[in-house]
């Protein structure tokens, strides 16, 4: 009975499936297309004569003898030294995740367990900081960093990204720690632990799900950042995203767009893997803030 009442009439079912299919094509096709195209030569990917060239690789076969070429990757990774940017990105993202989680768990735990009025004000200040456009902050950093002579180095960028990330981390971990029962650490304190020992022995073992989720978003922020990294890093210290944007200026002129295409696909690949493994955590993290209101 309930089944038949819930079953959709056929036109509605068709409409909703068609809608989802269109959405899926819109969401995924650009990435499939660009990944496929990154193994072709430029006259195929940007085909003047016939768009099917990008699929069959007519020009690619003519130029290289095979329908697929790693030319773009070769040019980007070796000739343009994209591998350096990859290493820099690895250093920056890893450090940002570790540092912001360390500071964030301590702060978020304190905010969740303290009942005083100022916790509210700290959270509100964090919300305003969260809303600040990053480029606004970057224009505040630039001159002082020039004056202090710390502009252009990776550690400077790391600490700035940690700071920008901190409001979000605090909010997220604060609401996560609220969901861990107070009794847990309070009973540890009754047994004679100090607050820090209670945190270490009773809370840390159960906090990993929340920390992993928050860490994913810290990773995404650091990995995806363009504003801060493009303003605060020198040419040789650049991470992937600003490196790709600087490719555009130099390679478009020389007809080496395929280098940029290959670099873009290289930068998307890790994100693809990330979603593949952590889909559940990403979904729960996105909704965590909403449920708390």
């Amino acid at each position: 009975m309930a089944r038949s009442a819930n079953a959709k009439p056929l036109p509605l079912l068709a409409l909703s499936i068609a809608f989802i299919v269109i959405w899926l094509i819109a969401a995924a096709f650009p990435f499939v297309w660009t990944t496929w195209g990154s193994f072709k030569v430029e006259p195929d990917f940007f085909s003047r004569s016939d768009w099917t060239n990008a699929i069959t690789g007519t020009q690619t076969i003519r130029q290289t003898g095979s329908p697929f070429t790693g030319g773009g990757y070769d040019g980007a990774w070796i000739e343009q030294e994209f591998w350096k940017a990859v290493i820099n990105t690895a250093i920056v993202t890893l450090s940002v995740v570790v540092i912001s989680l360390t500071l964030g768990t301590l702060g978020g735990y304190a905010l969740a367990r303290s009942g005083f009025r100022y916790t509210f004000w700290i959270l509100i200040a964090a919300l305003i900081f969260r809303a600040m456009p990053h480029v606004t902050l970057a224009s505040g950093y630039l001159l002082p960093f020039f004056e202090l002579g710390i502009w252009g180095y990776l550690p400077t960028t790391i600490i700035v990204l940690v700071a920008i990330n901190q409001p979000f981390t605090l909010w997220m971990l604060h609401s996560f720690f609220l969901s861990i029962p107070k009794d847990l650490d309070e009973s540890a304190m009754v047994d004679g632990c100090t607050r820090f020992q209670a945190f270490r022995l009773a809370v840390i073992p159960v906090m990993w799900p929340g920390v992993v989720t928050t860490g994913l978003f810290s990773f995404l922020l650091a990995y995806n950042d363009f504003t801060v990294t493009s303003m605060l890093l020198t040419q040789e210290n650049q991470t992937m995203v600003p490196k790709i944007s600087s490719f555009l200026g130099s390679t478009q002129a020389e007809g080496k767009v395929m280098y940029a295409v290959a670099a873009v696909v290289s930068a998307i690949a890790p994100l693809f893997v990330l979603v593949l493994f952590f889909q559940r955590q990403i979904v729960s993290g996105l909704t965590a803030g909403a449920v708390k209101g």
């Binding site: 305003i128 930068a267 998307i268």
Partner: protein, 342 residues
């Protein structure tokens, strides 16, 4: 928790935020009150085989000295805020006197760099945000009706536009809408106009950027709504069915009211994120037709040989005021809730 323990736990996090978020805001306000030094000119006599010429040059040494003494430049008060690159009240006055109709007036004000960027930023924020909410809601409804087995893969692909770096996502689309790319040439065939280019006209560029914005953010709204749909109370839904509510009436009177708080949450996050729209403009190379406030600041700092700190700082302060105005309703509501509880 006693104050002292609380402080010990939160201090590292607070110090980082104060040093690198609060202090820069102060630094921006300070910088906006100063302006670059005037150039010191010296007259140099060049004597060659064809006689002597007197040349005026910038005295690099004197400039260097002034810069090291006063790195922020010379004091300018609120001058930068009112110059033609920012609020430009004088220019607006002139335009007001000169123009006859409202359309003319608005058209000419739109050409001032600050207002051009402001209008685009506001248009982007207030067009993309509602579209994201509506599209996300319908995707969530659609996915919710799918059989369990294919839900996972569908959610996986739906997440991609949001997870991928904004600059990279916009580049991927930019290459596809290129007149030699697949979407660009498809549109040319569709409208039977071989010269059609999405990059050429301001209107088409704006629309492209809006479409990108919706594409990028819809997954966020979708995921939040989808999670919300799992929690729609079954009892209410069933009693609505018993009362004879049609499918649409059930969505309209049960699902939507239940999801409304989530829509507010999405709207808040989207307003914050869309107001700082920046990467798509770089990715789509759209700066000729569309600039945002964030882009203005970026181009002041990176566009020329010497960064224009004062100009960037003034725009930054104005942007910050914009953010606060945008957040005002939320802040007022939170304040009221808090007082009611206390």
């Amino acid at each position: 928790m006693p104050h002292k323990t609380f402080l010990a736990f939160i201090l590292p996090s607070l110090v980082v935020m104060l040093l690198f978020v609060a202090l820069p805001i102060a630094s921006v306000i300070y910088q906006s009150l100063f302006i670059e030094h005037e150039q010191v000119m010296v007259e140099v006599e060049n004597c060659g085989p064809f006689g002597c010429t007197v040349e005026r040059r910038v005295d690099a040494q004197a400039m260097e000295e002034m810069r090291s003494q006063q790195p922020a430049g010379r004091f300018n008060g609120l001058g930068t805020y009112f110059n033609s690159g920012h609020l430009a009240f004088e220019r607006i006055g002139e335009i007001w006197d000169r123009t006859e109709t409202w359309g003319d007036f608005i058209g000419q004000v739109m050409n001032l760099p600050f207002y051009k960027a402001l209008i685009f930023t506001l248009a982007y924020t207030f067009i993309v945000t509602p579209c994201v909410i509506v599209l996300g809601f319908f995707i969530a409804l659609g996915v919710n009706g799918l059989p369990g087995l294919i839900k996972g893969p569908v959610i996986f692909f739906s997440l991609l536009p949001m997870i991928v770096t904004p600059l990279i996502g916009s580049l991927v689309l930019y290459w596809m809408i290129d007149s030699r790319g697949i979407i660009g040439s498809a549109l040319q065939v569709l409208f039977n106009d071989p010269s059609l280019s999405l990059k050429a006209s301001p209107t088409l560029t704006w629309i492209t950027l809006f479409v990108y914005g919706v594409w990028h953010s819809a997954p966020f709204a979708f995921v939040v709504f989808y999670a919300g749909l799992q929690g729609v109370p079954r009892d209410t839904m069933e009693s609505a069915m018993v009362d004879g509510a049609s499918r649409w009436e059930r969505v309209r009177f049960v699902t939507i009211p239940y999801l409304l708080p989530l829509a507010t949450f999405i709207a808040l996050m989207q307003l914050m994120d869309n107001f700082r729209v920046f990467e798509p403009i770089v990715g789509f190379s759209a700066e000729a037709n569309a600039t945002s406030l964030s882009y203005l600041i970026y181009s002041d700092l990176r566009g020329s040989d010497t960064p224009l700190f004062a100009s960037a700082a003034a725009t930054s302060v104005l942007t910050t005021i914009g953010v606060i105005i945008l957040l005002m309703p939320v802040l007022v509501r939170t304040w009221r809730d808090f007082n009611r509880k206390a």
